[in-house]
Amino acid sequence: TQLLEQSPQFLSIQEGENLTVYCNSSSVFSSLQWYRQEPGEGPVLLVTVVTGGEVKKLKRLTFQFGDARKDSSLHITAAQPGDTGLYLCAAPRGYNKLIFGAGTRLAVHP
């Protein structure tokens, strides 16, 4: 059982489409991170959200932390092939550990 549930598991879209992926939990977190991982590489941090209801924008990517700090979403506007990758959410568990969801694998076709 995953503490962080990500949906959808896979997403295949055409260039220019919009999409939203989700990260849900029954637990409350002090913060939540989103990483992107490309094939053959380690994950790279995109953003950290820390306040319930917080919205952060990174160019065409919009991240939202739920009011209750149990869930988060990532919205991509006008997706491009360069957005292709595995999107992982992560949250602290205890003082020293960071746990990850299973990820959403996104493919954007030209």
């Binding site: 598991q9 002090s30 992560a90 960071l98 299973a102």
Partner: protein
């Protein structure tokens, strides 16, 4: 900017063999982590360290051992390799814990046959 360096990138082991996955970081980070990534399962924490001489178990520590004799190095030892240990292994570091940004290496793809 080296960051987190892992070696080797690929390795094939026979059942019962042992090996050490190397990880070194040049950012003077106190916290270091070992994760494994199985298809469709995300990243699972194997072991972590909060500083030289201090290590602790993560979610899936069985079959692995670690040591942290220096701030820079955090090797992961597999004893008596089993097919269930076939995975991609990632080492990561952060300045502090508490959900701070993790810097990852590029991974070691291990197959146990």
């Amino acid at each position: 900017n080296a960051g987190v360096t892992q070696t080797p990138k690929f390795r094939i082991l026979k059942i019962g063999q042992s090996m050490t996955l190397q990880c070194t970081q040049d950012m003077n980070h106190n916290y270091m982590y070992w994760y494994r990534q199985d298809p469709g399962m995300g990243l699972k924490l194997i072991y972590y360290s909060v500083g030289a001489g201090i290590t602790d178990k993560g979610e899936v520590p069985n079959g692995y051992n670690v040591s942290r004799s220096t701030t820079e190095d955090f090797p992961l030892r597999l004893e008596l390799a089993a097919p269930s240990q076939t995975s991609v292994y990632f080492c990561a570091s952060s300045r502090t814990g508490r959900g701070e940004k993790l810097f990852f290496g590029s991974g070691t793809q291990l197959s146990v046959l």
